[in-house]
Symmetry: C2
Subunit: 150 residues, 2 copies
């Protein structure tokens, strides 16, 4: 039941400060996983856990922030996350509301984003319109933006 154990490991390391694999193996054994340090070593490798040094100089296993997301956010993604407040649509138009002053920036980024479904954008101060070629793609575009809004 490796999977069950992996979940347990993630819970344990968020709850306790685990400094060594033996320590973790012991906690797991208390929770009825009958395993050894060798297995923990493999689990840690598979989970992508990492032994980091905290501010007090102590070592501790953690799941690195960026291993869950896997990659850097692009500029477009960051700007969407930071400025978009609302997404709506009618027919072949997507209407995006942003914080004041941001709509032009966002439009400019989208124009260069390579999203082929778009014919173009128009932006005011806090509102932007995306004109979509085929209205079947409107939900796709909306979803793409909404997923990045956080």
């Amino acid at each position: 039941m490796k999977n069950r154990r992996h979940k347990e490991i993630l819970e344990i390391i968020t709850q306790y400060d685990i400094g060594t694999q033996t320590e973790l193996a012991n906690l797991l054994r208390m929770r009825n996983f009958q395993i050894t340090q060798a297995t923990v070593s493999r689990d840690i490798k598979e989970l992508g856990l990492v032994k980091s040094t905290d501010s007090n100089g102590n070592h501790k296993y953690v799941l690195p922030m960026d291993s869950s997301s896997g990659r850097e956010l692009t500029r477009l993604e960051r700007v969407i996350m930071d400025t978009v407040t609302e997404v709506d649509s009618t027919e072949n138009l997507v209407l995006v509301k942003t914080l004041p002053g941001s709509a032009n920036l966002l439009a400019s980024l989208l124009d260069h984003s390579g999203w082929l479904e778009m014919m173009g954008t128009i932006a005011g101060d806090d509102t932007m319109l995306i004109i979509v070629k085929d209205k079947d793609n409107v939900p796709l575009i909306c979803e793409r933006i909404q997923k990045k809004m956080g």
Copy 2:
């Protein structure tokens, strides 16, 4: 000499895949740092480096994304990072060039940033001016922005 070495270590690990401390120590010795694995162990601790497992199952030392900054970036910081291209100053004015269309957004964020040294901002399309109360504070403001530019 430790500081110089730390910089070198960061350069090395971004350039090569370093799997062990001995490996790193050898590279450093080739570069005229006369040190041993013990010192590398301490350096790694101080730098906050972390031995992570890549997708091929190989181990490798890296500087975790989030340990350098230690915290989430604010919206202001992200926007500066994403849009500012140039910072200059004369007298009590700081002139900030941005990517086209971003200056207003940036100005608006700065207006609400609580940077007390500023009297106010004026923004065009890709240029923003910060009016600083006391011209002694101009270098401070410039530096603050430049540090966030990446």
